[in-house]
């Protein structure tokens, strides 16, 4: 959008304490009235130097730190890390561990997308769906707590295995939850996704073309929202995702150009349904086994380096580990999905209105814990 400035430019400082910057992001808005010429993100308010921390802890001790990157999807964060270390050490896990990991990761994906959808509704001004989403998310967290004892930061996936096995009857509870949950998605669609006001607010703003998305390294639901059918679970499978029957949700642009905020939002809603499908199939594949069977006594990977990425709810999460053969990682670099998405923000939000800036930011579904690390 071309912006013709007729008046003075006013700098509006949005954040780091602002209700809708999803944490402590700071946006420097150059505004003329309601129009925003530039929205310059400033990050780092939640910086803990995760990468320096982990150079001083041994490999299993890193897992609690990875939990704290994306605290809305901690199960996926640690899954990526343990898979990377397992790849480096060449550990094979048994079928039960594999299935449980998939079930947990997908439940966590649902929980994370529920936060995304709910907070997005809140950004647009509708508070009710937010609490409905949280109600369903609580059920998932209850399941997690029953299994591993924590609700948010699990430390459940261990290198070579899992902390605990399921409790008896857990599978039934998961299926019960899925049965209950699937109609709730339609409920959410009725109150929010299909609402005319919501569609008008989101379907024509924040257009991200596939070219821009790929150039800025945008991944995950945000990339798929632009119509690019790319999912690490399908295109570079891990954990045997290739054998599971599910669709890669892409933005179709029903209400406007492809790549709008609505598309990105809708990809998440569709993914939630796909996750339900995956969980159903994986629960059927569960076989008995010992979940701590292949946990090594000492995690001491050989010297070398490895890069691995997984599809976490906010995009591709990559871990690049350089090992010098010691007990602690020599260097661990995280490719954080939100970080790359955020770098495209300035490009996408150029020339929108103040309310749109909030809408675009919400549709990116960022978690500052992961951007700043």
């Amino acid at each position: 959008m071309e912006v013709d400035f007729s008046g003075d430019v006013m700098t509006l400082n949005m954040g780091p304490q602002h209700p809708s910057t999803h944490g402590v992001l700071r946006l420097e808005l150059k505004t003329d009235g309601e129009i925003v010429a530039e929205a310059i993100p400033h990050i780092g308010y939640l910086h803990r130097c995760f990468e320096k921390h982990v150079e001083n802890v041994d490999y299993p001790g890193v897992i609690p730190y990875t939990d704290r990157m994306d605290y809305c999807a901690a199960m996926n964060m640690e899954l990526g890390y343990v898979l990377t270390v397992e790849k480096l050490m060449g550990i094979q896990v048994n079928n039960r561990v594999r299935c449980i990991r998939i079930i947990m990761a997908e439940l966590d994906r649902i929980a994370s997308h529920l936060i995304a959808a709910g907070t997005y509704g809140n950004d647009i001004g509708s508070f009710t769906p937010f609490l409905w989403c949280f109600r369903d998310r609580e059920t998932i967290l209850d399941l997690f707590e029953e299994t591993c004892g924590a609700r948010l930061l699990y430390n459940y996936n261990w290198i070579g295995g899992l902390m605990f096995d399921f409790k008896p009857g857990f599978e039934k509870k998961v299926i019960e939850f899925i049965d209950y949950f699937e109609p709730q998605v339609d409920n959410l669609n009725r109150i929010l996704s299909d609402n005319f006001i919501f569609v008008k607010r989101t379907a024509t703003v924040g257009i991200m073309s596939p070219e821009v998305a790929i150039n800025y390294g945008v991944t995950g639901p945000n990339l798929r929202g632009s119509g690019v059918k790319f999912d690490v679970r399908k295109d570079e499978p891990y954990l045997g995702y290739q054998d599971i029957d599910f669709e890669v949700a892409v933005g179709k642009g029903e209400h406007g150009p492809i790549g709008s905020c609505w598309d990105r939002y809708m990809v998440r809603i569709r993914e939630v349904k796909e996750s339900c499908k995956i969980i159903r199939q994986t629960v059927a594949q569960l076989t008995p086994g010992d979940v701590r069977e292949s946990i090594p006594k000492r995690v001491k990977p050989p010297a070398g380096e490895v890069y691995m990425r997984t599809e976490c709810p906010r995009g591709e999460l990559g871990y690049y580990i350089v090992s010098d053969g010691g007990l602690k990682p020599y260097r661990l670099k995280v490719k954080s999905p939100c970080f790359t998405v955020m770098s495209a923000f300035q490009e996408v939000s150029r020339g929108s209105m103040i309310a749109d800036v909030v809408a675009i930011l919400g549709s990116f579904d960022i978690v500052l814990g992961e951007i700043d690390r």
Binding site: G61, R135, G149, A150, N195
Partner: protein
């Protein structure tokens, strides 16, 4: 002109739709708990406050090594040969006298990595979650009961946090 009326109609219909969903929820039972009077039953694996049953502790400091945030401080000394032999409740011989066993709960990240290496399973994460205090120092738990017999300069703890 047609799209104008179509949009108008769509707007009214979807708004009514939203209202219908909201109306239905007006009569669904609430899912929240009335917290201080009604309490959530914690699952048995809940990971809340750390507790060390010091009678069973053999002072091996495996927990302190496993802790990623270094919130556990253990200092132990050899028990004298002339002292009577004591055992933990699972029969392990206690060869070390634990003189310092401090857990700083403000540093704890509730990962439970410390509880797994414990040989006598005396360090557990309990399901207790209501332990807010007014002073941060009150979260520093001192479990050790024994006084050091041999005088030794306190080992310098690496306080430098990564």
């Amino acid at each position: 002109m047609l799209t104008y009326f179509k949009n108008l109609g769509l707007g009214v219909v979807t708004v009514l739709n939203s209202m219908r969903v909201a109306w239905r929820h007006l009569f669904t039972p609430s899912v929240t708990l009335q917290y201080p009077t009604v309490k959530w039953k914690m699952p048995e694996r809940s990971r809340m406050r750390l507790f060390n049953k010091i009678e069973d502790c053999i002072g091996c400091s495996a927990c302190a090594r496993a802790c990623p945030t270094k919130c556990i401080t253990v200092q132990s000394e050899k028990r004298g040969k002339d002292e009577p032999e004591i055992y933990a409740s699972d029969g392990t011989v206690i060869k070390l006298r634990t003189v310092v066993y401090d857990i700083d709960m403000t540093l704890c990240c509730y990962c439970a990595l410390c509880t797994f290496p414990c040989p006598t399973k005396c360090l557990v994460m309990t399901g207790e979650y209501e332990y807010a205090v007014y002073d941060k120092k009150d979260h520093n738990y001192h479990f050790a009961k024994d006084k050091p017999m041999t005088v030794k300069a306190p080992k310098e703890q690496s306080t430098e946090k990564a």
